[in-house]
Subunit: 412 residues, 2 copies
């Protein structure tokens, strides 16, 4: 029986196949995300992986349904596996915003789902680190969030040589658009044209922009100049004060596809340009109001960082650690008369915080020793009698005999 296409199994390492994702790597990624977020004062939350379909169409329009894992449940509700976390966050914040001091700094590590047309090797699920800051309009909030993004990437050993945050602003493009004097009902079409600049042919870009009353040359000149707005300059200065200036650059080609962004937007890319975006985010000051039906109006911004591109990048840069079994002790049981006191010792060591394994059933001494080596334990321990224990340091090969109550002191 096979798993569904586009889904991953997570095996413990060492992996049976090189192309299988590992649970150990996933846990390593999650722990780095979590640790960095907590240092920044972000608190963890989560919502249901299934939500009413409306929650996603309200925000992104009905065209998004083509990309959703949606269905009717047995109660005839139109529901969907979550394709992103932000609508759930907006729903949760709107429901209880009075109970939380502003700014709200929250993060989550949801699994997200998309049902796109099947492409070979294309995943239909991934995990995403989401961090959001709600209730603060000042660009200091944008700087705080971008600093978190930078430090989350640095926690894996990535440096300013490896990645850069391309910083942009819909406000800058809004001003550019206004100065062109075009009809403001076409502003979102203009944003869409900018979003596609890098992925479309110049003639096509020219055609679309001309239809909107702009020339590709003027757009390119604006991008080329890359003059930061006052808002962006404030963010850059704030990051510079933290020593993070070399991790960001203004790049107006970034504008983000989703309709709901309202101000500063940004994407993290590897410097060599080998991979898709590592992370992306920005301001969505109107979304909480939209999702809450006008009841709650709070400015907000956030980013999402997926696990797939990140792991590919870490592998390519040789930054993904080797994961072993993390066992501390293997208890050898050669004399079966000593199995009962050995079980007692094993239980005491585990209660003392050590990861301990042992032969479940009688086994030859060399087989036990081999197993201890495979598990890469720090020490092997063997009862010599009910009262005495032989402790062997796997690295130094030093041996010591100690009283059975004294074992933990020798396992430092």
């Amino acid at each position: 029986m096979e798993r569904l296409p586009g889904f991953r199994d997570f095996y413990p390492e060492p992996l049976p196949h090189n192309d299988v994702w590992s649970a150990d790597a996933r846990q390593y990624i999650f722990e780095n995300w979590r640790t960095t977020a907590r240092r920044y004062g972000f608190r963890e939350y989560d919502g249901p992986p299934l939500e009413p379909l409306d929650l996603f169409t309200t925000k992104s329009g009905s065209e998004i349904v083509a990309q959703l894992y949606n269905f009717s449940d047995k109660g005839n509700r139109e529901i969907s596996l979550r394709p992103e976390m932000t609508p759930t966050l907006a729903r949760m914040v709107a429901a209880h915003e009075r109970s939380y001091k502003k700014p709200i700094k929250w993060f989550a590590i949801p699994q997200l789902f998309r049902y796109e047309r099947q492409q070979k090797g294309r995943l239909r699920e991934h995990f995403q680190f989401n961090a959001d800051l709600i209730g603060e309009t000042d660009p200091a909030a944008d700087a705080e969030l971008i600093a978190l993004l930078i430090d989350a990437l640095r926690s894996f050993g990535l440096t300013e040589e490896d990645f850069v945050i391309r910083l942009s602003s819909r406000n800058a493009w809004h001003d550019f658009f206004q100065q062109g004097g075009s009809d403001s009902s076409h502003e979102y079409d203009f944003f869409q044209a900018i979003d596609k600049l890098e992925r479309s042919a110049p003639e096509e870009n020219e055609k679309k922009l001309t239809a909107l009353g702009f020339s590709l040359a003027a757009v390119n000149a604006f991008i080329e100049k890359g003059a930061p707005t006052v808002e962006l300059q404030g963010i850059i200065d704030n990051l510079a004060a933290r020593g993070l200036k070399d991790f960001v650059k203004v790049d107006y080609r970034v504008i983000r596809g989703l309709a709901y962004y309202t101000g500063v937007v940004f994407e993290a890319f590897d410097r060599k340009g080998e991979f898709r975006a590592i992370a992306g985010g920005g301001r969505y000051d109107n979304l909480v109001k939209l999702i809450s039906g006008g009841k709650v109006d709070l400015p907000a911004l956030g980013f999402g960082m997926g696990d797939v591109v990140l792991v590919e990048l870490l592998k390519a840069r040789n930054l993904l650690p080797k994961f072993d079994t993390h066992m501390d002790v293997y208890v050898l049981i050669e004399d079966e008369h000593l199995r009962r006191p050995s079980l007692k010792l094993i239980h005491d060591l585990r209660a003392g915080g050590f990861a301990v394994d042992y032969p479940l059933t009688p086994a030859k001494a060399d087989k036990q020793f081999k197993r201890a080596q495979e598990l890469k334990v720090g020490h092997t321990v063997q009862l010599e009698s009910e009262a005495y224990v032989r402790i062997r340091n796997s690295a130094s090969r030093d041996e010591v005999v100690a009283g059975v109550g004294d074992v933990k002191n020798h396992l430092g």
Copy 2:
């Protein structure tokens, strides 16, 4: 916009409502499960939350579909959100069993889904700690797994006064059934009748058992006697050697509802009998073979422990800790000229592993101080100049002025 019925939002603590599940409590539960499993040498794995419907009907028969969150996807595949983890585990092990040394000791913490008829307050999802041991027939494996279950519960502060493992065996009931000389094709009906003993009226039990050639009196006498089989006695002795004897008792009323159990079965209950089962499991020696279509034949056993009953029990026994924000330091910024060096200090402290918060925008001194108190930080830190810092211990109220490079040494 509301979340779906039967699903939970997980907010950070302190909670806006008493009846809301918290992300902090969830993380606390997961970490205790994970830590205990690792001490026992169990490795983490995970599979997709969606699987082909067949994976679940192969194992449990088509009647299970009534309880599943199943649907047809856009590619017309019959699929289901996972209602349990064991079929996925069996699929994964069967696919790569040669790459892993036996016994395989694995755990997972999946979210599981059931679509049962709507009952007030009844959840349609929960998280479950799954631990399984594959490739060993000896009862020493059963004892190892049950010891893990006991220690996982003890990690929350629960004692032998709080819970007990009711230990039983389908082998014991198999022998009882054989001695009755009934047609072996009715054995599973007999198991079902035993499973319902506690939930059905005596007359109904009598009627069902008589139809199968047994008397309720004989069944009750067998339960009353509770004589452990050789196999169960071996497990009890093994647990006794670890000092865990008081956590188990033989109770043949436990037989587990699912069709696939083959030997020892067990359930963990609170001693006061206030809650549903905290955990349950047993041997399923034929399942890997069934799922792999006969390709891989490995004995196995496992248990599942859900988060819902566990959290209810911990709340009732006052064992669920209070969760605060876990912030170490609040950096006060009263003089806005010192914001830039303050940002540098904040960044250095976070890089040094401290959880640090600060006012994103200019704020009055008393408001900042109040925020520091709300966050229950261990220390407040305030730049006096670019070179000197005032550090205040929140508990002792001791203050010290130190060089800006020397702050970390004062935050022990």
